[in-house]
Symmetry: C2
């Protein structure tokens, strides 16, 4: 049995094709490359039930991933995260079938592990010895540990105000970590220069074609976990938007394989923060591409991306599926985050909370109907965002007793 | 089909039996209660292959868990964590089949989620409205979020020097969190008093019989993930030792079910820190019980337990399986932790690193043979232990380039 049904890379803009056996970055036209598979051949030899006995991680979908030889797989057990029903939160919003795809349960605690696992595995297969990545944080953490696992040297460059916890995580993984007194765009420039100076593979978002394949498995899992049914709506917090592009790609591949019982596509929703909403603005103005968002800021640092290279693919997925895009405010994001952990015990990241807030608003506006099946992507664990400020807590003496219980459930 | 094959509770010391439909804490003789199942009946109706289509979490083993009605299950997707091969680390130690059961991928990032999921679910089934727990940290984090999910009020009491990150996590889950200017034993006294004063269920370690059932699923999963084969050695970092007792219980139940292909039991190893090694001392002295370890201290705070209520069960599991117990030092624990993330990309907690260090030492002494299959339990993610101290890192100006790469892979 063939391990991967990958055929080639093709440009998302001009359709020019490239070999998947050689290192490529962007297409010569400047746009991202996507991975193609022989889905017709695969449909003949693989059925959903064949997956039952496979490992409980994203490698169960290896035919739909670009790694050709199993010995190149670099895994820390990523994928097959829970699809959790959120009944109390759903009741509260008026959505009867609300689910959370919880990406907090991953190596390094975020969905970035998926892109890193597949990206690093393919880098290993292509003979890469060292790679360089500019990052706001979580992607750097994920790529650094998978590079360690693969024995590939990694160089990670992040703005100096990236969260301290993530800095420590990257440093622990023995990466070459550099902080920059500037923005992610400055880190990008330094990365490009370092790639040239030190013969490193530049794995900036969408400059390498494989991380999207890792993230695609979120879509494959959602459908498998729903018994090969599609949800009605998928809500995703979009920074670079790669996850949304990837989940949309998953659904199109499953459709071609004939693996969708319902045969319908879900409507895709991109959620951004009011302080950084270029894709929402483009969608509001019915444009195919976004413009650079100046002075962007939000507590949800994972979606602080002022101009995404794949913006046109995100917008395309929204238009094709009759989806939408909306922006939410920082204060209400933090309120929703607190509400969710109190209600459902899930301590999620602000980006995930933004996506739940969007569900709430779209239900209020009637865009989501009561009986629709809604899947919200939580991209990471709340723990990684904790600033560990001193919270005001009662301290008892060793010989003292509790006099009253202030907090109700 | 019956959801649970639970029959009763029986005392681990005097064998007195109790109903599993009523709230019980310790046996009247003062020792912990264990949960019994009708394994003979279960063996007739369930086979390992029946599990294939089940959810990828610990509830796949619901017949071997104490919850009778599925609607009482409180889940955040816990369980079915990866069993990762560690080939480079194994080569380095001279162990050809070294695996890590990685409990970092869990709600709240530690194996405590298993005990909390099953403990809180059973509390819900028993009609509990509020519970109280003294904790050094991670158990409190897990029980607080599962209580939120269940709609049960939780009161968590921890020493004031518990890690700030865990304090914040418990506070986020909307628990009644109290810090105490004292030790875990003081927290225990305050918890017992609060249980009486506020009609709360005291869920101190082994004072409720159900968390052990949740932790038992680690053992069930290891065997299922190895294709119903048993490993030769299981190495566990033991504080209270509940996980070790639980995994041993899992193996005994699987043996009775006839689900162990090999029919052999693994040898169990309990690892402690040199600064808190009561069980190791008892084992060295061939005793059946441990003595209180005064002035205990270790960086691996999860195994800082000077006298465990279930010590005699830990020692029993070691003696029965021809296992052993050994202590390792804090400095070498931190060295091993760093070595592992650099070598395999797995950023594990100090307790997990202590267990790997034990594997290394037992191989050096010849107690573990080269071709034995060794499973090390990593009880949590390294991230939760990060002090976020300023690490010394190069900071570039926005217009500066990288001059050299100091860190090698």
């Amino acid at each position: 049995m063939t391990f991967s049904f990958v055929t080639q890379l093709s440009c998302s803009k001009c359709s020019h094709v490239y070999s998947s056996d050689l290192i490529h970055q962007l297409c010569k036209c400047g746009f991202p490359l996507l991975v193609d598979y022989d889905l017709e051949a695969l449909a003949k030899v693989l059925k959903p039930k064949d997956l039952l006995e496979r490992s409980h991680d994203l490698w169960r979908y290896h035919e739909l991933l670009p790694i050709k030889r199993p010995e190149n797989v670099v895994s820390l057990g990523e994928g097959m995260t829970p699809l959790l029903p959120m009944p109390k939160l759903g009741a509260d919003m008026g959505i009867s079938h609300l689910y959370m795809k919880d990406e907090g349960m991953a190596p390094t605690g975020t969905f970035k592990a998926r892109g890193a696992a597949v990206g690093v595995s393919k880098a290993k297969e292509l003979g890469v010895k060292g790679l360089v990545m500019p990052t706001n944080g979580n992607a750097g953490a994920a790529w650094s540990v998978f590079s360690s696992r693969a024995g590939i040297k990694s160089v990670i460059i992040m703005p100096k105000d990236a969260p301290a916890m993530i800095r420590s995580e990257v440093a622990a993984a023995n990466s070459n970590l550099f902080l920059v007194d500037g923005l992610i765009s400055d880190a990008g420039r330094i990365a490009a220069k370092a790639a040239a100076d030190f013969q490193l593979y530049d794995v900036s978002t969408l400059k390498e074609p494989y991380r999207i394949e890792g993230k695609k498995t979120m879509g494959l899992e959602i459908v498998e976990q729903l018994g090969w049914e599609t949800p009605d709506v998928i809500i995703y917090p979009a920074g670079g938007g790669v996850g949304l592009i990837a989940i949309h790609k998953a659904f199109k591949e499953l459709e071609k394989l004939g693996w969708l019982n319902s045969g319908r596509m879900p409507r895709f929703v991109a959620v951004q923060a009011e302080g950084c909403a270029p894709i929402v603005k483009a969608w509001d103005e019915k444009k195919r591409e976004s413009e650079f968002w100046p002075d962007s800021r939000t507590v949800a640092f994972g979606i602080n991306v002022p101009k995404a290279l794949g913006d046109f693919l995100v917008l395309q997925a929204i238009y094709e599926t009759n989806g939408c895009a909306l922006a939410v405010g920082d204060d209400e994001i933090l309120g929703e985050q607190k509400h969710i952990v109190g209600k459902e015990g899930a301590f999620i990241c602000p980006e995930g909370a933004a996506a739940f807030l969007a569900a709430r608003k779209l239900r209020e506006s009637g865009w989501i109907r009561e009986n629709e099946r809604v899947v919200v992507i939580n991209t990471g664990m709340g723990l990684k965002y904790m600033d560990n400020e001193n919270i005001n807590l009662p301290v008892l003496r060793a010989d003292e007793d509790i006099a009253s219980l202030p907090v109700l459930p």
